[in-house]
Amino acid sequence: MNFVMIFKVAILAILRNKTRALLTCLGIIVGIAAVIAVLAIGKGASTMMLNEISTMGNNLVMVFPDSNRRGQVRSGMGSGQTMTADDAEAIKRELGHLVRYVSPAVNVSSQLVYQNKNWSCRVSGVSCDMPEIRNWQIGEGRFFTEDEERSYARVCVIGTTVQNNLFDGEDPVGRTLRIGAMPFKIIGVLRSKGANGWGQDQDDTVMAPYTTVGRVLTRSKFRSINMMNLSLHDMSDLDEAKREVTALLRQRHKLPDYQDDDFETRDTTEIMSTMGSVSSLMTVLLTAVAAISLLVGGIGIMNIMLVSVTERIREIGLRMAIGATPFMILSQFIIEAVVLSTVGGALGVGLGVVVANVIGEVNHWPIVIEFSSALYSFLFSAFVGMFFGFYPAYRASKLNPIDCLRYE
């Protein structure tokens, strides 16, 4: 049997009635377009959520010293003085294969004064790698360098909230800000991040080298720090990194085996996994919508093909009379259904892209169209054609040529 010929016969049959062909496609066009648009919007939304999460930091692990103990009275997290800047430097030196960036944080709440204005906020002593670790962008000026860090430079970078409260439209870069009693030169302004997931204003901050803050603001003898931010090369190393950091800190703190850690590590995997389950729930929902759209489209194809078989019963009889075998009739009708549904699928992908972009434009939603989702929808539409085309085609192939020829 010549399959190319059957294919040709099917194509000719489709082209003979273009209106019917379009109507048959319509269900699939709308179905696939709905799938593409919904997936594009859904994907856009989840990308937006991930971006939001990533403002927290890249592959972030935080290390806090245990709370301060004086007899039975315990202070809060990070109040202990057991962790020092030396610990941070040791991690950077010895665990560089796991940890990409290290920034200790020495936090102090301080009064800021510029000319006749003043403001109070948290001043963080951090390392020059802080922008990389916590995804801070520099809006104006620059962040401080490693040299400035080492040389205890009195420089600082301010957040936009601080800028708005102290500088009335004036460019703060290059001005001198008094932090507590000490003058610091402002070398940059951080780009606004907005509030974090807990409603805390992330822009209400001042950052300066931890060395400088430790020496001139907290005046800690032991170079103690409030916490460390570590950024890993790869989140898949998380468990190993936590183990190594723990081992190194225990060794440095000379903790005997029977004693608990005097520090605690935390990471963002918990948040990530919550977001992951939200996004997989969303995927299930979207997939259900997609499946229903395609099911409806497929049933549309089956309906029109069934009607078409009845409508074309004389044609089927004639084809059988002049030598089409039942299998050829079956093939012809299945090919017709598959061609219609794949053409419908292709048109639907196009329409879906347009619709998604229009919706995104109107509502200012991010739109992410993945090639794979377009490809899968297209392939699935071919499958739908085959699946829903089979029954009408089977009916056609079982017809008796005599009855078909006599059909009025």
Binding site: M1, N2, M5, K8, V9, L12, R16, N17, R314, E315, G317, L318, R319, M320, A321, I322, G323, A324, T325, P326, F327, M328, P401, I402, L405
Partner: protein, 238 residues
């Protein structure tokens, strides 16, 4: 010499309701190559059943049917389809052309199922056949653009596409006016003179008059078998 068509005691029984209906009740019949046969009879006489079985559209309940030296009485639907494709050509009362399809594509269709010719050869042969039936310049016309007589000519060209040994015609002039009927019958006569075997069912005497042999059916039996040696009566067509 073997006959082109050999019927031996063919029976077709429809088990409808309580009384089985004997549509064919033991028909034996030979048709030789080149014959022009008309099958006649009142409606319900079994002539349509006979033509369906002759045309391999239906299978007999019992008996033997040899076509071109091959037993075809008990074949599957697929085998019958292939036999029809290669050995038989059909012309119907209502033409049975595909709607919105050009004449040339109609004529090419049987070879699409056979797949014997190349694309160019197929087109060439189809054009040749259209010229043969007198529609040389109308290859691109669709049925809607053709008269009844012209549509039937397209159907005849289509029936001849795979060069079958036998041409079956079921009331070929039933839907045509007198003038078109005469033209179609003239065409059949020419084809018959070229050696093509034609078996035609008709209930009109003046149409049957073109045939050289008349078979008359009654109650599922062959009741008359006349051979006429004279040339088809020109007067009969009126």
């Amino acid at each position: 010499m073997a006959h082109l068509i050999e019927f031996r005691d063919l029976k077709k029984i429809y088990a409808q309701g309580e009384e089985p209906v004997h549509a064919l009740d033991g028909v034996s019949l030979d048709i030789d190559e080149g014959e022009f046969v008309a099958i006649m009879g009142a409606s319900g006489s079994g002539k349509s059943t006979l033509l369906n079985i002759l045309g391999c559209l239906d299978t007999p309940t019992s008996g033997s049917y040899r076509l071109d030296g091959m037993e075809v009485a008990r074949r599957t639907r697929k085998e019958l389809a292939l036999i029809r494709n290669r050995k038989l050509g059909f012309v119907f009362q209502n033409f049975n052309l595909l709607p919105r399809t050009s004449a040339i594509e109609q004529v090419e269709l049987p070879d699409l199922y056979m797949g014997r010719l190349s694309r160019r050869e197929r087109r060439r042969r189809a054009l040749e056949l259209l010229k043969r039936v007198g529609l040389g310049g109308r290859g691109t016309h669709t049925p809607a653009q053709l008269s009844g007589g012209q549509q039937q000519r397209v159907a005849i060209a289509r029936a001849l596409m795979n060069a079958p040994p036998v041409l079956f015609a079921d009331e070929p002039t039933g839907n045509l006016d007198t003038k078109a009927s005469v033209e179609i019958m003239k065409l059949f006569t020419e084809l018959s003179n070229e050696g093509i075997t034609i078996v035609m069912v008709t209930h009109e005497d003046d149409i049957a008059a073109y045939a050289k042999r008349h078979l008359v059916m009654k109650d599922g039996r062959l009741v008359r078998d006349d051979r006429r040696e004279s040339a088809p009566g020109k007067g009969a067509a009126g």
